[in-house]
């Protein structure tokens, strides 16, 4: 488990979309996730596997079902490693500026 795997997993719009779906409602089955994507079951499985290998998704068995949970810890670790250390204040200022400009647009 390293940062490379996390960055690679995040470098794909479908996988980010899957994380967003889990953020909205956590603990979902493959079938539920598949129904929200224009993609084959096999394709969704492949993306979920990449997310799981990067530690961004954790699966738990609940009876006969395999539920997928968003695990935000690797993103937090990247935040602590890359954002906190160098640039949090500057990044926060720029993020505020971006939000401010976008809200007024």
């Amino acid at each position: 488990m390293d940062d490379d795997q996390v960055f690679k997993a995040l470098a794909d719009p479908t996988r980010r979309h899957l994380l967003d779906r889990l953020f909205e409602r956590d603990g979902r089955t493959l079938t539920e996730l598949e129904s929200e994507l224009e993609m084959t079951r096999f394709g969704v499985m492949k993306h979920l596997r990449v997310l799981e290998e990067a530690g961004l998704v954790v699966t738990r068995r609940d009876g006969r079902e395999k539920l997928h949970y968003l695990n935000p810890v690797p993103i937090r670790l990247i935040h602590d490693r890359w954002i906190d250390k160098y640039t949090e204040h500057r990044v926060a200022a720029l993020a505020d500026l971006k939000h401010g400009l976008e809200d007024t647009a």
Partner: protein, 145 residues
């Protein structure tokens, strides 16, 4: 995390370069917990999990303790009056050794159906705690800031 709707079971996982015994000590002994758990002194002994955060003291029932691989306990957010009034939830710590001197730590916080405020509040907290625990065990120092 205000947009999350299904918070009744939360799962957090982290890989730590440490032994299961080191992780067990770090989650059951106050001299470790105070360095990454929001300053809380937490001790697991005699079937209870005792906490002290800034002078607020309380304890929770330990449901299962198998050192160094599994700890299950009730969870009450006694540090906040609104959350303290909610029903107790449950926290499971699973410690699994992997190849190459790495150990996987998984925290499952569930039975939160009757504790919505607690569920909302702990979501960010567990991330911070696990990140801090990893840093402490791997570097010997708490997270900066």
């Amino acid at each position: 995390m205000t947009t999350m709707t299904a918070l009744t079971t939360q799962v957090y996982s982290v890989f730590i370069r440490a032994t299961p015994e080191q992780i067990w000590d770090a989650i059951t002994k106050p001299e470790f917990t105070e360095q990454y758990f929001y300053g809380a002194r937490i001790e697991v002994k005699g079937g209870r999990r005792f906490s002290n955060i800034g002078g607020t003291e309380w304890d929770e029932e330990v449901l299962e303790a198998e050192p160094p691989s599994k700890l299950v306990h009730r969870f009450v957010a006694a540090y906040d009056p609104d959350m303290a009034a909610e029903d107790a939830s449950r926290v499971t710590w699973e410690i699994e050794p992997q190849e190459g001197g790495v150990t996987k730590l998984t925290v499952v916080h569930d039975q939160l159906e009757s504790a919505p405020k607690t569920a909302e509040s702990v979501a960010g907290g567990w991330m911070y705690i696990l990140s801090g625990l990893k840093t402490l065990l791997e570097t010997g120092k708490p997270l900066a800031g």
